[in-house]
């Protein structure tokens, strides 16, 4: 601390620390804390605040387990909200895995196989979709997957029957993979460029098959990139609002829709806070799982 003041002087140190504190306290941690605190209280009219019914309770969380709104799910009677929560987490994991499976070969090729002269052009073509907003990327698939849209027109033209793409979770999964795949691609690409080609050559010379090289040499090296990509894709997917609203169907539901309904239709901000906190906890759980599983630290993920 004294070294800090010596370098920047009292005035400047105060400015730097104030800016940082304003961010961490007023913009991030106090709002988070207030949200969490409210999630344990009932949403009451102003007149009742401070009254006998204004106490800490788990009611907002328990409202998810409302058995009066339940149906059979995997052979059990499960409340709808819990189902939606489980389905959201399940499909988000699915989207993460699909993104990895599709992005890894491309990242490997670009990092290790492509001719250096082609890299800038290829990179530019990938950087453009990265800068196009999630809104437009989702909107693109809204047009493409429409029943009367270009994809079905193409299928029709080659003699195949039209497909109702926007039913169930199809549209959501396709849209999410498209929208979030670059957040998987770039971290993997970055961690692979640091891998020495000689290691790959050595493994091959020692007789390793190409899948063995990938599994035992390349993928371990790409671990920080994979964990970073997986965390980002999962977090975006589980908290996505746009993709489920634009590409969802009457028989698909996403957990964020429950939050929004409670917020705007139910006007119950404290229940929404409780559900949002659950969403945050799932993401924290995912991050710590990834950190354990891949043995990486936080700095690898947020790089």
């Amino acid at each position: 601390m004294s070294d800090f003041v010596r370098r920047y002087g009292w005035g400047l140190s105060a400015i730097l620390v104030t800016l940082t504190a304003f961010w961490l306290l007023a913009l991030v941690w106090v709002p988070y804390s207030v949200m969490i605190e409210k999630s344990f209280r009932l949403y009451l009219p102003v007149s009742e605040i401070g009254g006998p019914s204004d106490r800490y309770t788990l009611a907002n969380y328990l409202s998810l387990f409302d058995m009066s709104a339940s149906s059979e799910f995997l052979g059990l009677m499960v409340p709808i909200a819990v189902q939606v929560f489980l389905i959201t987490v399940f499909y988000s994991c699915g989207v993460t895995i699909i993104c990895f499976a599709l992005a890894y070969p491309a990242a490997y090729f670009l990092a290790k196989k492509a001719a250096p002269a082609q890299i800038p052009t290829l990179f530019l073509m990938l950087a453009i979709p990265l800068f196009v907003s999630e809104m437009l990327r989702t909107f693109a698939w809204f047009i493409i997957l429409a029943y009367q849209g270009p994809l079905n027109a193409l299928l029709d033209a080659v003699g195949l029957s039209k497909v109702r793409w926007l039913s169930g979770y199809n549209g959501i999964i396709i849209g999410m993979v498209y929208t979030y795949i670059l957040f998987m691609f770039f971290p993997i690409y970055n961690s692979l460029t640091a891998l020495d080609n000689n290691q790959i050559e050595a493994a091959k010379d020692l007789g390793a098959r190409s899948w063995q090289v990938h599994l035992n040499v390349i993928m371990p090296h790409a671990k920080p990139g994979i964990s970073s990509g997986a965390t980002m894709v999962f977090m975006f997917a589980v908290g996505s609002v746009l993709v489920p609203t634009l590409l969802g169907s009457p028989n698909s539901r996403w957990f964020t829709e429950i939050i929004i309904r409670s917020m705007f239709e139910g006007q119950d901000w404290n229940s929404a806070a409780a559900y949002a906190f659950l969403l945050l906890l799932v993401c924290l759980l995912f991050v710590s799982l990834v950190m354990k599983l891949f043995r990486v630290n936080l700095a690898d993920i947020t790089r």
Partner: protein, 284 residues
């Protein structure tokens, strides 16, 4: 060298991968020029530019564009100083407290933006700040500041702290050390940070969804139009947004290449210096 069968298979795969990423954008853009009621590129009825003129006369949309620009400027002005200051503070922290501070600072990146939106709305409403573009600016900045912080922090790794000491020893004031030694070194990272802050703020959806009050941003406007019946006006708008993205992509790529060249040049210099030293030549 003979190219194997699997090599061509991979080239084909990468071509498909890039096509998968770019084709949808061409379809969104292309539909802006097609004279159909519902945006599509098939069937192609007639080429037209009237979706662009309609868009330019759409008052509701122009208000949304104005709001979005205000938001983007506000977020840039707020998150660039915050991110830079936070990176400098973190860089001066050591040991356990550094790890803790790092976790506290990067948490917004790992938080779903919808959660940031809700916490922003609940907290600032509680202290009587009305929901609107200003509140949205605060919420979006809380996330973007973390990105700026990481960019500046990465740049600080290559900063030689002895330069600060030297400047101080030579009688520079603290203010001069910051503005004449540190900030010039950080400038590339700050520039990229500002660009990313601006572009990310244009795209924000989840935070504005909760914190905007009655004000509409472009993304919110598009989402509401899609729900009530979309016309190719939105695609005309998309064309403009994609052009901005192309400009962003090109700038980013030029910056990346310049940085790459600079590093190569430095490595070359270092090598030359080493060789000269081995030959016993003094090159200071």
């Amino acid at each position: 060298m003979k190219r194997s069968y699997s090599h061509y298979l991979m080239v084909g795969y990468v071509a498909l991968f890039i096509g998968f990423l770019l084709l949808p954008l061409l379809i969104v853009g292309g539909a802006a020029f097609n004279d159909t009621r519902f945006p599509s590129v098939w069937p192609w009825k007639a080429s037209t530019l009237h979706w662009f003129t309609q868009m330019a006369e759409n008052r509701q949309l122009l208000v949304a564009v104005w709001n979005t620009l205000m938001l983007a400027v506000g977020v840039t002005l707020l998150s660039v100083p915050i991110g830079t200051a936070a990176a400098i503070v973190l860089n001066n922290t050591k040991g356990k407290s550094r790890a803790l501070l790092y976790a506290l600072m990067t948490a917004p990146i790992l938080t779903p933006a919808a959660v940031v939106g809700i916490s922003t709305l609940i907290f600032w409403r509680g202290v009587n700040v009305p929901a609107g573009i200003f509140m949205t600016t605060l919420g979006v900045s809380s996330i973007i500041s973390a990105f700026v912080m990481l960019l500046v922090l990465a740049r600080l790794q290559s900063f030689d702290r002895a330069l600060e000491d030297a400047a101080l020893d030579l009688g520079a004031t603290n203010w001069q050390v910051l503005t004449m030694v540190m900030l010039p070194h950080l400038r590339p990272a700050i520039a990229v940070g500002a660009m990313i802050a601006f572009l990310q703020a244009l795209e924000a959806f989840n935070v504005p969804l909760f914190a905007r009050g009655n004000a509409e941003t472009v993304t919110i406007y598009i989402a509401s139009q899609v729900r009530i019946g979309v016309t190719p006006q939105i695609n005309a708008l998309a064309v403009i947004m994609i052009l901005i993205a192309v400009a962003g992509g090109v700038t980013y790529e030029i910056g990346r290449r310049r940085e790459h060249k600079r590093r190569l040049k430095l490595e070359g210099l270092a090598q030359a210096a080493e060789q000269a030293e081995e030959r016993g030549e003094l090159i200071y």
